[in-house]
C-alpha cells in the first residue's frame, strides 16, 4: 500500500499540486486521472521521488519515503517497477538486454538465470519472439510491452505507469490496460496508473483519483464515476461522445 499525505508542489509561481492526500491499495489498479496539465504526472513523479515535493509525505507500506536517507530510498526504489510514457528503453541495448538490465545491475543472478527470467517476462507480455530485436525496430505498442516486462522483471511490490496508452491505437491500448490489470492481480502488487483515457478508466479503474488544477476533487471507482455529482469530473468523463451517449441513455 502507498499512502500520500498533503503533497504540494509549485514550479516558480505556478502551483501544480496542493494538499493531495490519497491511499493506493495493494492488489488493485489505482488510477490518477484528469485533463492535461492538472499535475497527474508531477504527482506520480513525487511519489516515486523523481521530483521532491515542497511539502507532504509519501509512505510505502508505512516506510516514510520522503524523509528517508539515500540508502533507504535506493532500497525502496529497488522494489519499484515503472512504465514511462515513451517506454524509456535503452537505445544501446536490444529488447532482451533491456528487460535483463534491472537484474544485471541489482542482482547477482547467473547470466542464464537472468536471461530465462527476462524471456519469461517477455513471454508474459506476448513478445517472446522479439527478444533479439533492437529498440528502434519495434512499434510503440511493443515498446510499452517491453517497458512492462522490464518493470516486472525484478518482482516489484509497486508498479507505476505514466500514460501507458498515449500514442497507441484503441486495440493496443486495451491490450496494455488488460496486461497491467492482470499483472497487478497476479503479483498482488500496488499499481498506480496515470491516464486521461476513459477506456482505461472504465475498464480497469478499481480505485480512481480525479485531479483538477492541482487539487483532488473526487475519489471512487469506475462504477461510481458517471454519477459523481462533481461538475468538473462530469465535464471530463462526458467529453467523450460515446460517454455522452451513455449519459443520455
Amino acid at each position: 500500500m502507498i499512502k500520500i499525505k498533503d503533497i504540494s508542489k509549485t514550479f516558480g509561481d505556478k502551483m501544480v499540486l496542493e494538499g493531495i492526500d490519497a491511499e493506493f491499495e495493494q492488489g488493485k489498479t489505482n488510477l490518477i486521472i484528469g485533463s492535461s496539465g492538472t499535475g497527474k504526472s508531477v504527482l506520480l513523479k513525487c511519489i516515486v521521488g523523481l521530483i521532491q515535493p515542497d511539502q507532504g509525505l509519501v509512505f510505502y507500506d508505512l516506510r516514510n519515503f520522503t524523509e528517508a536517507d539515500k540508502e533507504m530510498k535506493s532500497e525502496i526504489r529497488r522494489e519499484i517497477g515503472m512504465l514511462f510514457q515513451g517506454g524509456a528503453l535503452f537505445d544501446s541495448k536490444n529488447v532482451e538486454e533491456n528487460v535483463m538490465f534491472p537484474l544485471e545491475v541489482l542482482t547477482k543472478m547467473p547470466l542464464d538465470e537472468k536471461r530465462d527470467r527476462a524471456n519469461d517476462c517477455l513471454k508474459r507480455v506476448g513478445l517472446e519472439n522479439a527478444n533479439k530485436k533492437a529498440v528502434s525496430e519495434i512499434s510503440g505498442g511493443m515498446k510499452k510491452r517491453v517497458g512492462i516486462a522490464r518493470a516486472i522483471v525484478n518482482n516489484p511490490n509497486y508498479l507505476f505507469c505514466d500514460e501507458p496508452n498515449s500514442g497507441l491505437d484503441p486495440q493496443t491500448s486495451i491490450l496494455i490496460d488488460e496486461l497491467i490489470h492482470e499483472i497487478t492481480h497476479e503479483l498482488n502488487i500496488t499499481t498506480i496508473v496515470v491516464t486521461h483515457d476513459m477506456n482505461s478508466v472504465m475498464g480497469i479503474g478499481e480505485n480512481i483519483i480525479f485531479l483538477y488544477k492541482g487539487h483532488k476533487l473526487w475519489e471512487g471507482n469506475s462504477a461510481d464515476i458517471t454519477n459523481s455529482g462533481v461538475g468538473e469530473l462530469d465535464d471530463f468523463v462526458f467529453a467523450n461522445k460515446v460517454m455522452s451517449k451513455m449519459r443520455g441513455s
Binding site: L50, K70, V105
Partner: protein, 242 residues
C-alpha cells in the same frame, strides 16, 4: 559561479551510491572501445598532416643559411610534444567525443532513460558518467602518444618526399637538446584535458531540459565550455610545470 558550483556537486555525486566493480569494469571497457579505438583513425590522420604541414611551414620560414636544417625537426618536435599532440588534439577530442557524450546523455535525459535508472535505485550520474571519465583518462593519453608519434613521422615523410631535410638531419633534430620533462608535461596535460572534456560534456548533457533542440544546444555548450577550459588549463599547467 552558480554553474561551477553545480558542476562541482555533480562531480561529487559520481562517487556516492556506486554500483559494483564488475558493472563499472564492463562499462569502462565499452567506453574505451568507443573513445579510443573508434577515434584512433581520426587522430592518426589529423596528427600526421599537422606534423607534415608544420615541417613544411618551418622550412619555409627558415630562410637564413646560418641556421642548420636539423632545427626544422627540433621545432616540429617541440611543437608536437608540448602543444599539437596534447592541446590541439584535445580540441578535436572535445568536438568528436565531448559532443557525442553530451548528445548521448542529453538524449537519455529527454527520453526519460535517466529517470528510468533513478527509479530502479541506480545512481544515474555515477552509472553513466564515471565510466566515461575513467575511460577518457585511460585512452586520451594513449591517443596523445600515438598522435605525437604520427606527427613526427608525418614530418619525416614529407621532409623526404619534397627534399626539405635529410633523414639524418631530421633524426638529429629530434634528439637535439631533448628535455624528457616535456613528455611528462604532455601526459599531465592529456590527463587533465581528458577529465575536463568528459566531465564537462557529461555535465552539460545530464542537465539537459526540453527536447531535441535543447540537446543540440547542450552539445554546442559542451564543446564551447570544454575548449575554454582546455585553453585555461593549458596555460596553468605550462606555467606551473615548465
Amino acid at each position: 559561479m552558480r554553474e561551477f558550483g553545480r558542476y562541482v556537486m555533480f562531480i561529487g555525486s559520481l562517487f556516492v551510491r556506486r554500483e559494483s566493480f564488475g558493472t563499472y569494469y564492463k562499462l569502462v571497457l565499452e567506453e574505451c572501445v568507443q573513445i579510443g579505438v573508434n577515434s584512433a583513425f581520426l587522430f592518426i590522420l589529423v596528427s600526421s598532416f599537422i606534423g607534415a604541414v608544420t615541417t613544411v611551414q618551418t622550412a619555409f620560414n627558415m630562410v637564413s643559411p646560418l641556421i642548420p636544417r636539423f632545427v626544422i625537426s627540433q621545432v616540429v618536435r617541440e611543437m608536437t610534444v608540448l602543444e599539437l599532440a596534447p592541446t590541439v588534439m584535445a580540441l578535436i577530442y572535445a568536438g568528436k567525443i565531448g559532443s557525442s557524450m553530451a548528445g548521448g546523455i542529453g538524449t537519455m535525459r529527454i527520453t526519460e532513460q535517466i529517470d528510468a535508472l533513478e527509479v530502479m535505485g541506480i545512481n544515474s550520474s555515477s552509472y553513466l558518467v564515471l565510466p566515461k571519465i575513467i575511460a577518457s583518462m585511460m585512452m586520451y593519453p594513449v591517443l596523445v602518444i600515438i598522435s605525437g608519434v604520427c606527427s613526427l613521422v608525418g614530418g619525416y615523410l614529407i621532409g623526404q618526399a619534397i627534399h626539405i631535410i635529410t633523414p639524418t638531419e631530421y633524426v638529429a633534430g629530434l634528439r637535439f637538446a631533448f628535455n624528457q620533462q616535456e613528455i611528462f608535461v604532455a601526459v599531465v596535460k592529456a590527463l587533465v584535458f581528458a577529465f575536463l572534456i568528459s566531465s564537462i560534456s557529461s555535465f552539460k548533457g545530464y542537465y539537459t531540459k526540453g527536447g531535441a533542440l535543447e540537446v543540440g544546444i547542450a552539445t554546442t555548450e559542451a564543446v564551447t565550455t570544454s575548449v575554454i577550459a582546455i585553453l585555461i588549463a593549458d596555460y596553468f599547467i605550462v606555467d606551473l610545470i615548465l
